[in-house]
Assembly symmetry: C3
Homo-oligomer: 204 residues x 3
């Protein structure tokens, strides 16, 4: 069951990578590379840091195949994806919520401190998008677009990490609940246009 959710997260992140490639008029190679890196990049960074090598992306066949599938869909039907963008954004929020929680819990499994587990949860959730933007030749959108994107991941990873300190709380309810919290915060931030500030005096 978490396996299925992981693959859903990978699929939506891959779609966002492939759509970025269409927007930049990249070719099919660029689509596949951006789809793979967006979907798998955050988890690969996390696994390299905690020493879980080869990273799961290099041991699981479905982790590699799902972004190929997403690329094929976007290749043929990308105008439809642009039309259903609100739905894609919802799935992206689901991926964000899921990845920040699974990333933090995996880091705890590898005996990192709670602070660093939270950090790795956020890296897992936003790392792929950062790599996608860097490879597309633009500043990572998470650094400037002022939408709440990293912060919901921070909250989800923090709550999951805090609850995980109690062994009797380990389980799918805590992880699903934390992921839902991050998902809800992200959706609320999109709905009511919550924004992060710039440095004092830099202005809007």
């Amino acid at each position: 069951m978490p396996g299925v959710l992981d693959l859903v997260g990978i699929f939506v992140f891959a779609v966002s990578g492939a759509l970025a490639a269409v927007q930049k008029r990249l070719d099919v190679v660029g689509m596949v590379v951006l789809a793979e890196i967006t979907a798998l990049g955050g988890g690969i960074l996390r696994d390299l840091v905690i020493g879980a090598v080869p990273p799961v992306a290099f041991t699981s066949v479905s982790y590699v195949v799902v972004p190929l599938l997403a690329s094929a869909l976007v290749f043929f039907w990308h105008p439809h994806f642009t039309r259903i963008m609100p739905a894609v954004m919802l799935f992206d929020a689901a991926g964000l919520g899921l990845f920040c929680v699974t990333g933090a819990i995996k880091a705890l499994d590898y005996h990192l401190s709670p602070l660093h587990a939270v950090l790795l949860g956020v890296i897992t959730a936003v790392g792929g998008g950062i790599l996608r933007d860097m490879m597309s030749g633009q500043i990572p959108s998470v650094l400037y677009d002022r939408q709440l994107y990293a912060l919901p991941a921070l909250v989800g990873a923090t709550v999951a990490t805090a609850l995980w300190q109690q062994p009797q709380l380990h389980g799918v309810f805590v992880s699903a609940g934390s992921a839902l919290l991050a998902f809800g915060l992200r959706v609320a931030a999109m709905r009511w246009n919550w924004r992060t500030p710039r440095a004092r005096g830099v202005g809007d």
Copy 2:
């Protein structure tokens, strides 16, 4: 003998990095950094992923020295390199063919699945060029230039990986043959200007 071929691949990739630095009017530090990262980046990424640390670039002296030599040559004689660009492109194709095969086989040695060995072969072959372009402030050319560059590497890595499944086929003939195939495809793609498509409807 494979050692010599590896160094030839490193040399030509380093030349392409140093020439990119000249084109961007970088200084000598930029030339050396781009030469090293272009030549060694793909292999470093592969070794980090499979857990072969320190990566071979950090244990072999000649891996580091050859890009320095390439930088020195480009520093003094870069106009000549621009003139012999067709030859440089041939060597680059040789490096591509060689790296995709050695990368895939090394991944198999580290017990990765055939699918992931192919993936790592391609990463070894194109990773350095991607890092070079990202550090030069441009979208990696492999993502958009529509020339067949990643695909010959994919074919070479796939053939090498498939044949390597039979232990009795392990050896220099299979690896050299696969590298030659990737090299030939790349050269043919340059000769007849084969191109990869963009997403349906994005047009030329």
Copy 3:
């Protein structure tokens, strides 16, 4: 005592990252990300390469907290930092000197060759700044600004590595002396505007 110096280096590098974020009009998330990556990126790269996982940035709480502190200071008082830029540049030179030496010595501790220890010393010193610039959407300044920045790190790492070959020279005097040398070279290069050349004939 070296611990304190490390944190000073991290602090000043984090300040440079946060100031880059202000300059690019990034939001508070961008400030924190650039501060962390500038301060910790070089050391993380070094630790991944030598196999010291998790990297020290993911085991030490203060390594993560100090850049947060630097971000908060820049968030509220960044105009003051711009005014005291010469002092910030001095501290940055101190961080450069310190990181190139500690990076090289840590690599020697992990049994890398002297050549590769020097290389990793330079990567530790300049890696964070390179990642900062790549994430800010610009060519890493170390590649083109022609000021002596990487070269003092190269000298400091080389001297530290050479002296460290004699076990009886291991100690704080040699490391502090090598760091001071790199620091002094960097300050002198700023003071007298020493510059690195471009490739022959590319001109000024």
